[in-house]
Symmetry: D4
Subunit: 218 residues, 8 copies
C-alpha cells in the first residue's frame, strides 16, 4: 500500500467523481463524499486499512471539463494541500462534441485538452507525493463508434502525459472493457457515461489496485 | 466462489439491509437495491464476476424485528424463490429494549427471537441452495455495555442456529470489532447502529469472503 | 390525407408515446397529449387541416411492453372506439433484456412479442378504419450492436405482421437512420431511446407522411 | 433553404417565444429551448436538415415589451453574434393597455414601439446575414375588437419597418386568421394570447416557410 | 331584505362559484367559502346584516356542467336542506363546445341543458323558500362572437325557466355588460370567464340587490 | 364620490392592509392587491365606478409599526406619487406591548406613535389631494380590556391628528363595535386582530362611505 | 407520587393535548408525544422519577369535542388498557358556539356535554386505577366575556362530575387565572386557546402537582 | 431566585442550545426559543415567576465550538447586553475528534478550548450580573469510554474556570449520570448527544435549581 498514515488523498473530476458530494467541501460524514467511486475508495480504506487514517476529499464537479479544472485548480487542489492527487477528466470535453455538436465553445478539443492537463500536472507534481491519472471512458463496446473512438484518443493523451511525468496511471476504459465482454453497456450505465454501483466498483478497484491495496491483508 | 451462474441471492433484514431500497421490489437499476451492503455486494459481484450473472434482491425493511420477518416470510422470501438467502436480523429486537424500555410489546426477547428465527430457517432450508446467517451487531466497543452485552447474546443465538442447521455464518460483530480497535464507533455509525459507507464495506466483505469471493481472481 | 372529418385517432405505446400525457384520459387542452410525437401530430393536424377536426387520443404508458398493452387493450383501445389506431411497442420488451439481463420475467422475447401483437391486431382490425403499425427503434447507428440487432428483429416482426394483416406500416428505425448519418445518436437521445424534440419530429413526420399529410396543401 | 451550414439562428421575444426555456442561456439539450415554436423550428431543422447543423438560440423572456428588449439588446443579441435574428415582440406592449389600463407606465404606445423597434433593427442589421420580423398577434377573430384592432396597428408597424429595412417579414396574424376560420380562438389559446401546440405549429410553419424550408426535400 | 334570521343560503355552480372553497363542506372559517362572489355575499351579509345570522354554504365545483349538478343534487343540495338556493351553471356546458370542439361528449347542448335545469328546479322548488337563478355569462362585448352568442342563448333559457317557475332571476351578463362599456374584458377576466375581484363584486351585487339588500340600512 | 377620474389611491399599513399582496409592487392583476379590504375597495370601485379608472396601490407590510412606515415613507409613499393616501397603522405598535411585554424595543409607545404619525402626515399633506386616516382597532368588545383600552388611546391620537391636519378620518373601531353587538369577536377574527372577509367588508365600507361612495348610483 | 412503577398513563383531549403528536400511536421517541403538556409531563417523569418507568401515551386529536371522544373511546382508551387516564375536553364544544355561531350542528351544548362525559367516566372508571379530569379553559381574564362565561360553566360541569365519581380534578382555568394576573392573555396564547410553552408548563404543573409530584425529591 | 424583575437572560451554545430556534434573533413568540432546555427554562420562569418578566434570549448555533463562539461573541453576546449569561459549549470540540478523526482542523483541543473559554469569560464578566457555566456532556455511562473520558476532561476545565472566575457552575454530566443509573442512554438521546424532552428537563432543572428556582413558591 503506497498511502501512508495520516495522508490526504484528493480526487478531482466531473460528475462521475462528484456523484452528489456535499458542496463546497466534499469531506466528512453523512455522504459528504457522494455516492460514487470516491466514497467506495474511502469506505474500503477505512474498513480494511483503518489504522492508516487516510483523509479522502472529493472536489469533483458535474459538467466540468479540463478547462473548468484549470479555473479552480488553485482553490480546489493546491490550497487544500493533498498528499495524493487523483484526476479523472475528459468525459465532457468529448461528450459535448457529440451531444451538442453545434455549440462549439462547449467543446474541448485534443490540443487544448493536452495542453491544459499538462499544465495542471506541472503545477501540482512538485507539491504532492503522488499523482494518479485516470483516463476518461465511454461504456460503448464498439471501438469504431465515433465517440468511443474519440474518447480512446483522450485516454491515449492521458497515458502519454502519465508516462512523461512519471505519475501513476489507471486505464479505466481497459478495466471496463473486461466487464463489457460479459455485460451489455446498458447494465453498467443508463447513458453509457454515468456508472451504476457496479461501474463505480470497477473504478474504485482499478484505482486501489494501482496503489497496492490488498483486499485480504493477511 | 460458491454462487453459480444465474442464481438469485436474496437479502432480508432491517434498516441496515433496507437502506432506502425501492419498494415493493428491491431489484433493478437506479439504486433499487438501496445504498448499503446489499448494493455493495451486488456491485462487486457484477464488477468482478460479471459472467456469473447473479441476481441480487433486497427485501430488507426498516424497523423490522424477527417477528416482522415471520409475518412476511412467505411473500418476501419463499414466493420469490431465491437460490441463496441471507438473513441479518435482531437489531430492533434488542434496541427497543433499550431506547423505549417502557413499551414492552415492541421488544422481542431471546426466547421468541430464537424460536422465530429457527422456524424461518426450517421453512427455508429445504428450498434453497444455501443460507447465510449474519449476526446483528452494535458498534460499541465496550462489551460490558448493557446493550452490547444483549446484542452479543443474540449473536450467540444466531451462531448456535447456524451450527445446528449447517448454514453459513457471518459474525458481523467480530468483523466490526477489528475495525473498532482503530476507529472510535462514532466514525463508523452516528448512532452506533446505522453504518457509514466504511461500515457497509465491512459487512459486504464479511459476507463475500464467506462465499469464497476473490478480489483478484487471476 | 387518409383521415376524414371528425375521426378519432388513438395512439398507444410506451414512454415514447406517453411523454407525460395526462392520466387517465390523454386528450384535451393544456398538454393532455404529452410532449412527444403524439402532440406534434395533433398540433400539425389542427394547424394545417383544421377543418378536419381530428380528435387525437394518447393512451401511451411508460414502461409498457406488448404484454402490458394486452392487459389493457379492451379498456384503453376497444372501449374508446377509435377510427384510427396507431401502435408503437417493443422498446421495453427488448431493453430489459439488455439493462437488467438477470431479471428474466421482465423480458418479452420474440415469440411472445409476435403472438401478442398479432392477437391485438386481430382483435382490433375489424373495429377500426385503419391501423398504423410503427416499429420500435434504437438510436444506435452500429447495426451489429447487440441491442440494435435485437431491436431490428422486433422491427422485422412488426413489418411482417403489418404485411400479413394489411395495416399501414411506419419504419421508424429507417427514418432515424437517415438522420443518424448526419448526427451522432447522443444529439437525438440522451440514452439512445427517448428522443429529443427533433427525434419526435422524425416520428411525427414518418407517421403523417404515411397518411398522405401535405405540409403545403395548396 | 436560406439558412447555411453551421449558422446560428437567434430568437428573441416575449412569453410566446420564451415558453419555459432554460435561463440564462436558452440552448442545448433537455428542453433548453422551451416548449414553443422555437423548439419546433429547431426540431424540424435538425430532423429534416440535419446536415446543416443550425444552432438555434432562444432568448425570449416572459412579459417583455420592445422596451425591455432594448435594455438587453447588447447582451442578449449582439454579444451572442447570431447569423440570423428573429424578433417577435409587441404582445405585452398592447396587452397592458387592455388588462391594466390604469397603470400607464406599463404601456408601450405606438410611437415608442415604432421608434424602439427601428432602433433595434438599425443596430443589428449590419451584423447579421438576415433578420426575420414576426408580427405580434391576437387570437381574436373579430377585427373590430378593440385589442385586436390595436394589435393589427402594431403588426402594420412591423410590416412597414420590415419593408423599410428589407428584412424578412412573417405575418403571424394572417397565418392564424386562416386557422381561426375553422376553429374558435379558445381551441388555439386559453387566453387568446398563449398558443397551444397547434398554435405554435402555425408560428413555426410561417417562420420556416419564409426561409424556404421544404417538408419533403426530395 | 328577503332573507330571514337564521336561514341557510346555499350556492351551487362551477369554478366561478367554487373559487377554491374548502371541500367537501364549503362553510366555516378560514376561507372555507372560497375567494369569489359567494364569500363576498357572505361577508356583506355578516358585516351589514349581522343580526340575521345567515348561514352561507358553497357547493360549487370547478368544471361542472348542469349534468354534473344533476348527479350530485341529492347529496349537495337536497340533503343540506337550504332555505334559499342559488344556481349559476352553464359556462362549461358552452365552453367545451368552443375550446375542445372535437370531444363531443364533453358538450352539453341546449336541449339537455334546458331539460336538466328544469328537472333540478322541479325537485327543489317545493323544498326551499326561494330559488335564485343566475345566468351564465361570457365577458366578451361583441354579441356576434360565436361563444358569446351561444352563452346568450343559454342565458335566455335560464330566464325562461325562472319565469316559468317563478324563481328569482339574476341576469349576470347584463350586469357585466354595463361594466364592459367602460373596461375591456381583459381587465375583468384573464380568459373572459374567471372574474377578477371586481367581477365578483359585480356578481355579488347583482345577487344581493335582487334580494333587497341595502348597503346603507339607515 | 370624492375620487376623480384617473387618480391613484395608495394604501399603507400593516398585515391587515398587506393581506398577501404581491411584493414589491402591490398593484396589477392576479391578486396583486392581496385579499383584504384594499382589494375589496379596488373591486368595488372598478365594478361600480368603472368609468373613473381609479388606480389602487397596496404598500401594506406585515408586522409594520408606524416606525417602520417612517423608514420606507419616501420610497413607498412619496416616490409613488399618489393622489390619495390611506393610512391604517398602530396594531403592532400596541400588540407587542401585550404579546411580548419583555421585549421593550419592539413596542411603540404613545409619544413616539403620535410624533411619528404627525411627521408622516406633514411630509405628505402638501403632495396629495386627500389623506384618509384610519384608526387601528382591536376586536374585543370589552372596553376595559387592557389591550382594547390602549388601542382606543391610539385611535384617539389618530382622530386628533386627523382633526389637526384636516384629513379624512375613519373610525374603524366604531364600525366594528356596531357588528360586535351582534357577533362574538371570534366570528370576525380568529385572534381578535386579523379580520375575516366580513371584517374586511366592514373596513372597506367604512372607507368608501367616507369618500362618498354610492352602492346604487342611480 | 401516586403513579407506580411500570404504569401506563394515557392522555386524551383535543388540539391542546394533541400538539402534533404522531398518529396513530402517540408514544415512543422522536416527539411522538407532541409538543405540549403531555410531552412535558412525560419528560419530567422520566427525568425526575426515572426509576418508575411510567409509560405515557397521547391520544389527543385536534378539533375533537366530547362527542368525538365518545366515538373513539373503545379504540383509543379502553383497548389501550391504561392504568391512569387523563381527560381534558370541552374547548371546541364551546368555541364553535362563538366562532361559527350559525352552524349549529358543530356545537355541543351543556346537556350533551354533561351526559356524554358522564358516560365516558362510567365506562372507564372500573377499568383504571385513577382518572384525572381537567377542565377546559379560556385565556380571557374578563369573566363576564361571553365565551369565558360559557367555558366556566363547562368547567363547573367537569368539577361536578369529578366529585360525583370521585376522580382527581384539575382546575386548569384556576391555574391560568393566577398567571393572567401578571401577564396579558396574548403572551400565553395567540388566540386565547392554544398555549405557548409557558402555558403548557402551567398545565403540566397543575397535573403533576395533583398526583403528588415533587420537583426536589430529596 | 437570583433573577430579578425585568432582567435579560441570554443562552449561548451549540445545537443542544439551538434546538431549531428562530434566526437571527432567538426570542419572541411561536417557538422562537427552539424546542430545548432554553424554551423550558423560559416556560417555567413565565409560568411560575410571571411577575418577574424575565426576557430569555437564545443564541445557540448548531455545530458551534468555542472557537465559533469567540468569532461571534461581540455581536451575539456583548451587543445584546444581557444581565445574565449562560454558556454550554464543548460538545463539538470533542465530538469531531471522534467522528471525523482525520480532519484535524475541525478539532478543538484542550488548550485552545481552555484559552478561548477563559477569554470569553474575561470579556463578559464585568458586563453582566451573573454567568452560568454549564459543562458539555456525553450520555455514555461508561467513564472509560474514550469520548466520555475526553468530555469529562473538558467538563473539568469548565469547572476550573468557573471556580477561578467565581461564576455559577452547572455540572450537566453529573445531573445526567443520576438518570443514567435508571435509564439506558438510548432512551435519553438517540446518538448520546442530542437529548430527548426528558434530557432537556434534566438540563433545565439543573440550570434553574442553581439559580434558586422554586417549583412551589408558597
Amino acid at each position: 500500500m503506497l498511502l501512508k498514515k495520516g495522508q490526504k488523498l484528493l480526487f478531482i473530476g466531473d460528475s462521475i467523481t462528484d456523484c452528489d458530494r456535499v458542496k463546497p467541501d466534499g469531506e466528512g460524514l453523512f455522504g459528504a463524499l457522494g455516492r460514487g467511486y470516491v466514497s467506495l475508495v474511502d469506505g474500503m480504506l477505512q474498513a480494511i486499512y483503518p489504522e492508516l487514517g487516510i483523509r479522502v476529499v472529493n472536489t469533483g464537479l458535474s459538467g466540468n471539463t479540463v478547462v473548468d479544472l484549470d479555473k479552480r485548480w488553485q482553490e480546489d487542489v493546491i490550497d487544500r494541500k493533498p498528499d495524493w492527487l487523483s484526476i479523472m477528466i475528459g468525459t465532457n470535453d468529448v461528450w459535448r462534441q457529440y451531444d451538442t455538436p453545434f455549440i462549439k465553445e462547449w467543446h474541448v478539443y485534443k490540443d487544448q485538452y493536452q495542453t491544459t492537463l499538462r499544465k495542471l500536472i506541472e503545477q501540482s507534481k512538485p507539491l504532492v507525493e503522488g499523482i494518479v491519472l485516470m483516463t476518461p471512458f465511454f461504456l460503448e463496446v464498439n471501438r469504431s463508434d465515433a465517440m468511443r473512438n474519440t474518447m480512446d484518443d483522450y485516454g491515449a493523451i492521458v497515458k502519454q502525459i502519465a508516462e512523461e511525468y512519471g505519475t501513476y496511471f489507471v486505464d479505466t476504459q481497459a478495466a471496463f472493457d473486461v466487464v463489457l465482454k460479459e455485460l451489455y453497456s446498458a447494465t453498467l450505465a443508463w447513458d453509457r457515461v454515468h456508472p451504476s454501483q457496479a461501474g463505480h466498483v470497477v473504478l474504485a478497484k482499478a484505482f486501489l489496485d494501482k496503489l497496492g491495496f490488498q483486499w485480504n491483508r493477511g
